[in-house]
């Protein structure tokens, strides 16, 4: 691994991020990444955060048109409430703060505590939970669906709505609409190695793959002999479409898990588009790349978001962050 010692990987990355992105204020000690021009007068602020190891999510999505601040936790570990409260206080213009929370027990508990503390400080807080992963049965008997690729859609589209100056309840409603219309499914061709453990999180022999993985190196629902990109696209898209029947065109995110080359991701995207065509699903926009990663895991996830004209306009709106940038 290209690190100094496991204990300092997050702090080291933040120092490097600060050096590369002077437009961001990076507080290495308190682990908060904030738009340097925050708070932006009259506008709702978006704060997200989660374990590290998913870069560019979330810190790489801080900037005009997307997040106002991000709180990175330890690798694959939710940040603590202090970070979120600090971030909220730094970005709140008085128009309120939307917490974008991926649905994991730890993230939910820590953001809940933070919301209470921030409200005690007079900050108006709303929360939206991202839970798009169809590989998890959503029932009373699980922790519920995980938040994965749709987080990018929620942060981009709700960020654009905030940038337009919409009030908190509208930004929150839009974020929720994006999540409700998004579904994801991921596959792993290899496990990932956390710096602290130093060896793969699970044993996946060459020639096999895991279907239905999350983004924390946890194994998936099922193991199978290796499949072709076309077969994987069939399985992933069909898993998503089993739970989402889009009447409108969709946004497509073909997301790399960290160790799969773009050459393969584009090839996989060709297969994803083929399957969508065969299933009669119209595609409005497609994004291909490593955006919601799982350290050095090989594999990919497919996220579809059914959109309308309003959401598409917000998706197309300018954005300027380290990880996503267009129109400005």
């Amino acid at each position: 691994m290209l690190i100094n010692v496991p204990e300092t990987v997050v702090a080291d990355a933040l120092r490097g991020m600060a050096a590369a992105h002077p437009e961001l204020a990076v507080d290495v000690e308190n682990r908060v990444i904030v738009r340097r021009d925050a708070p932006v007068a009259g506008k709702v602020a978006l704060v997200s955060g989660g374990g590290s190891g998913h870069e560019p999510l979330h810190g790489g999505f801080v900037g005009p048109g997307m997040l106002s601040a991000a709180c990175p936790g330890e690798v694959f570990t939710s940040p603590v409430p202090d970070q979120m409260v600090r971030a909220a206080a730094a970005v709140d213009s008085g128009a309120g703060v939307l917490f974008v929370v991926k649905n994991y027990t730890g993230d939910v508990l820590n953001f809940d505590m933070a919301a209470e503390l921030a409200e005690d400080e007079g900050i108006q807080v709303a929360k939206v939970l991202v839970n798009d992963d169809v590989a998890v049965t959503d029932s009373l008997y699980t922790a519920g669906r995980r938040g994965t690729g749709a987080t990018l859609f929620v942060e981009k589209i709700a960020g654009a709505a905030a940038d337009e100056g919409r009030p908190l309840e509208q930004v929150e409603a839009i974020a929720r609409r994006v999540n409700d219309n998004s579904r994801s499914f991921g596959v792993a061709l290899s496990a990932c190695t956390t710096p602290a453990k130093g060896s793969p999180t699970f044993d996946l022999p060459a020639g096999e793959l895991e279907l239905g993985i999350g983004i924390h190196g946890e194994p998936g629902r099922e193991r199978r002999p290796m499949m072709t990109a076309g077969e994987i696209a069939d399985a992933a898209v069909d898993a998503v479409l089993a739970d989402l029947s889009p009447r409108n065109p969709v946004l497509v995110l073909v997301n790399g898990m960290g160790a799969t080359p773009l050459l393969e991701l584009y090839g996989f995207n060709a297969e994803v588009q083929r399957v969508l065509g065969e299933r009669g699903v119209a595609v409005a926009r497609t994004l291909v790349g490593n955006y919601v990663t799982s350290l050095d895991m090989a594999g990919a996830s497919v996220t579809l978001c059914q959109i309308d004209e309003e959401l598409l306009a917000l998706w197309d709106a300018p954005v300027r962050t380290p990880g996503l940038r267009w129109g400005m």
């Binding site: 374990g51 936790g73 330890e74 690798v75 694959f76 570990t77 939710s78 940040p79 603590v80 409430p81 202090d82 994991y104 027990t105 730890g106 508990l109 820590n110 505590m113 590989a135 998890v136 049965t137 008997y141 699980t142 922790a143 995980r146 956390t194 602290a196 453990k197 999180t201 699970f202 999350g214 924390h216 190196g217 946890e218 194994p219 629902r221």
Partner: protein, 199 residues
């Protein structure tokens, strides 16, 4: 009677046990979690020991409340709020008495475990820390050693269970056959309590 020193010893013993068992906790967390349970608790209880030395709280309630707050602000993940709430709520239930009886501790700990159940939404049998904590609190009326043994037994009994809460629940049936890391660390906390009591 149990004074602030006893509770400090409990926390120090927990930190030492977590240190010693960190690799095992992380190993248990690999097949059904995300391989960081040992590391996270190690960071938390190291911070707890440092805070207790620095702030020198002088009542049982103050020791546990401080320990809980420190876990919440250093651990993150689910274990930070859950263990933090366990200790903070137990501490609050003990009030500001300079000494408490074993019965009072048992009662306070039950309040703490109930708060964890409310926060995490887990019931016995869901393959979580609750599976070690509930039998431990039930046995605390007998002795600290009985509570330690009940927690250990509860943790081991999670192996055949299918997880219904926490990250292991994503695995569905594949979570069966692995001992739950959270129940295992809860058994360590109860073992440290027996150690502090000299049992």
């Amino acid at each position: 009677m149990l004074d602030a020193d006893f509770f400090r010893r409990w926390m120090t013993a927990t930190a030492a046990l977590v240190d010693r068992e960190a690799e095992r906790l992380t190993a248990l967390d690999s097949p059904i979690g995300d391989a960081d349970h040992g590391t996270n608790l190690q960071r938390g209880f190291t911070a707890v020991t440092a805070a207790l030395e620095e702030e020198k709280p002088d009542t049982p309630g103050a020791v546990l409340t401080l320990a809980g707050r420190r876990l919440i602000s250093t651990v993150g993940g689910a274990s930070g709020p859950l263990y933090g709430t366990l200790l903070r709520r137990t501490g609050k239930a003990l009030g500001d008495a300079a000494e408490v009886s074993a019965e009072q501790l048992a009662e306070a700990l039950r309040t703490g475990v109930d708060a964890v159940r409310t926060l995490g939404g887990a019931a016995p049998g869901d393959k979580t820390m609750i599976d070690a904590l509930v039998p431990a609190v039930d046995a605390l009326g007998d002795s600290f050693a009985a509570a330690r043994d009940a927690a250990d037994e509860g943790a081991r009994a999670t192996t055949p269970l299918q997880a219904r809460k926490g990250r292991a629940s994503y695995l569905g049936e594949r979570s069966i056959g692995h001992q739950d890391p959270g129940a295992t660390s809860s058994a360590l906390v109860m073992a440290a309590l027996a150690e502090a009591a000299g049992e």
